[in-house]
Subunit: 501 residues, 2 copies
């Protein structure tokens, strides 16, 4: 073998894998946007066959040999290819540590757990799900120890989602949040609450459709490459940088829900659309990490989307489309209602301020599950205690408690902290951006978010997955990660809105 | 090899092929319902890779050997498996006759021709498309002669879409139509035209959405297994019998267009949904032929959907949803407007009566192209002459003339006659059904089309592709195909509506 042959093999197999990836992405997108419910079995059968074929290609001796050869000669590769091969290799190294029968069994477990979770949530029956949950945590721990026998398994799990992240760093980060946000939330609870009742009037869905198009336009999202759909839970999916989908969920009696879903998912989409052309079709396309992706989506949703300038930009259109529903509502009323904060039960519906507390609770539970401090059966009690303690709310049932999220049933352990980190990265990036760009003027002058997009494209998007997100954050802001930016941002913003001293 | 091994091989490869089929179906459906336009190149790349893999599996020595073995031992197979293997083998026999490089070149030609056709239609520039069209006809002729050197190539092409169909049979059928429908149309042109102006008032699309759901309900289509989408051109797509999609196109100023698209595509869907469970996942799932499929869709659209009983069934809902638009419109007005007939330029927008004349013209042109009587360059002239002669309309440009349909650019030669045959099969089936079922009472009693569906499921749907459609028609009606049923049906219906003697 030589480098040329090894690279050709790698690229040609990658092209094939991209084709399978395209197809399974389409099947997934279709399943949640268009497919009738009755076709689930046949779809699962087809997906299982395609996943097996994909797995066989990914781990084929031909591919592994080529990657192995390239790893051994990595210093002869250009920086991008070297990075790409290292990422691929890391993934295969992990896979190689797990006995195949255990890997297959885990796939089956996750599938069964997902169905069990859905049933348990519908029936509010945590006991039926607990054995699956315990097994999923146990298996994640076991696999982590196969891969890195000398490392704390939760560190290995965290690192799998966010390179370099450790329990120690998380502890420090979350204790910072705990010390600042928890008291802030408690103060707000005691003040006079904002009137956001007009957000819950009747908003006909076909007009909300039109409004989504308008929001995408104002975000300067190129609809040639990005389409919007409707799903139970909003998400973003990228086929490739020329084909990105965002989805939203319309509620007739909730104006802000879909609007901020579109802004949030629109942020994810802008990231994908702005990934460097040279990475297209390679392992470096897309974003740096899930945390960096969440950085961007929450940046658009909260820091920009709930700012006075953005509210001011869209207010005339809102008044035009929803004349009656917004009658008597001022721009300032809308701004304040968009920043309404109140401790609540459901993470995905939480406001900007309390959101990270929901994540903190999940982080603490994950730590305890991996360390063995908790067993699955303890979680309803632990969950309720933590919600009472940090958020001051009573959990009425497990469906609105420990069963609310799909992540654990899907096998994602160590993933939640990325959400909170993303929010914090965003605040740090905001400070840097403000020094280089008059954000308010940029939005007012262009009438859309194009200048913001350009800045982020230059500093973040175009780099794709070329850098670990901690490095990218340092390149962008000139500093190591510092959670103070986030807590300061929240303190200043919410103190002003709620008139705290 | 033994039968058991051969069958196992065949079934296991078929399962894999079904998975690929599922995936490419999803990619296609997504591409016309949801995908942003900018992703075309990457999608085509992915589809090309997947098509090549599919082709390799279909023609793998393993598969062909198994099929060959089963063909040799077909008398030891049960009737269903025998039929299935024969169908698969017929297809591979055809493929085997074509040199691989010519087969590949034809694939490329069709792809290019499709793009060239789209551009030519947009620019009304037939000359730019003519060379592709000529090559497509020439290649179809050549391939047919490779396969059956001693047979008229157009007969071979017809037989490829409708088993047993020949030019002789088509000539007889179309001359029957020519003699009866052409004079009938000429008479109608001279009578007082029906007022259908209310069909073109403003019909808000979000209410048309609701109406589509209502129509599906009245057709007793099980939405658990059938979903509706929106596309430029309406169609039906079956992933499998538990997952069928129909699409429609909404026009704000045209009420009947989407309504009858839903009824037509709903007919296709009912056929797929009613296919026998035992055929699921085999080569016998779906319908008997394209003509039989069109029989069913046009049966629902025209014979049922434009009947007094059906109009009467849905009229109250129409009045409720479109109160203003239908103000002053009686049930009888609606019935007459739904059966408005007038010679026109565009096949897909033609009414029930004149529709088959559009097909007849295409049939005559296909014959002439294959026989060598016409060259592609003659077609604009020939097209205009035939439209003037049979329909009495002047073709203003090629975009609304010879360039209107996608079929030829997509390589479908010999396919058009199936549309007309389908209409005629439907009328024959209608006569049989009437003897066994009081159709009007069945609709009135149940308030939907479930009894019609049941009858068709028993006589047609459940048989999947087990029988050639001419055999199925005979089994269902007790007679050979007879076009008289169709011409009589049209004469009676339209004479009554237009008050002819």
């Amino acid at each position: 073998m030589d480098i040329k042959t090894a690279l050709e093999t790698y690229r040609s197999i990658q092209k094939k894998l991209n084709a399978y990836g395209f197809a399974t992405t389409a099947v997934y997108y279709d399943s949640v946007t268009a497919a009738p419910e009755g076709g689930e079995k046949e779809r699962n059968d087809a997906m299982e066959i395609l996943s097996n074929i994909t797995y066989e290609i990914e781990t084929s001796p031909e591919m592994l040999e080529a990657v192995q050869y390239l790893v051994l000669h990595k210093d002869e590769l250009d920086a991008e290819t070297k990075r790409e091969i290292e990422l691929y290799n890391k993934q295969s190294e992990y896979m190689k540590c797990i006995p195949q029968e255990e890997y297959v069994a885990y796939g089956v477990l996750v599938n069964e757990a997902t169905s069990a979770w859905r049933r348990a949530k519908n029936n509010n029956d945590f006991a039926a799900f607990a054995p699956y949950l315990q097994k999923i945590f146990d298996t994640n721990k076991k696999f982590s120890l196969y891969y890195k026998p000398d490392k704390d398994p939760y560190d290995t799990l965290l690192d799998g989602y966010e390179k370099g992240l450790t329990k120690e760093k998380c502890d420090e980060f979350f204790s910072e949040l705990r010390e600042t946000i928890v008291p802030l939330v408690k103060k707000i609870v005691k003040t006079k609450q904002i009137d956001n009742s007009f957000m819950f009037r009747n908003y006909p869905i076909h007009i909300q459709h039109e409004f989504s198009d308008y929001i995408m336009e104002k975000m300067a999202i190129d609809k040639k490459y990005c389409a919007i759909g409707e799903t139970e839970h909003p998400f973003t999916l990228n086929f490739n940088k020329h084909d990105v989908r965002i989805t939203t969920h319309y509620y007739e009696n909730d104006f802000a829900s879909s609007m901020y879903s579109v802004v949030h998912e629109g942020g994810h989409a802008l990231y994908e659309l702005g990934s460097g052309d040279k990475y297209e079709g390679t392992g470096l396309s897309g974003g740096a990490s899930m945390a960096m992706h969440e950085t961007i989506s929450r940046y658009y949703e909260n820091i920009i989307g709930r700012s006075k300038t953005f509210i001011s930009l869209i207010f005339p259109k809102v008044k035009e489309l929803f004349h009656e529903q917004f009658s008597g509502v001022t721009e300032e009323d809308f701004y304040r209602a968009a920043n309404y904060s109140e401790p609540s039960l459901i993470r995905t519906e939480a406001d900007e301020l309390t959101y990270t507390l929901h994540i903190m609770i999940r982080y603490e539970i994950e730590c305890g599950m991996i360390s063995g401090e908790y067993k699955a059966e303890d979680l309803p009690r632990v969950w309720a205690e933590k919600y009472r303690h940090y958020l001051g709310v009573e959990v009425p049932d497990d469906a609105r408690g420990v069963l609310q999220d799909s992540h654990w049933s899907g096998g994602s352990v160590g993933y939640f902290p990325s959400y909170a980190l993303g929010s914090a990265y965003g605040a740090q990036i905001f400070e840097t951006m403000k020094k280089e760009l008059d954000i308010d003027a940029a939005i007012r002058d262009t009438g859309d978010l194009s200048k913001i997009n350009e800045w982020l494209e230059e500093h973040i998007f175009r780099h794709g997955a070329m850098y670990d997100s901690c490095d990218l954050l340092r390149m962008c802001t000139g500093e190591e990660f510092n959670a103070k930016y986030y807590t300061e941002y929240l303190k200043n913003k919410y103190s002003a809105i709620y008139g705290l001293e």
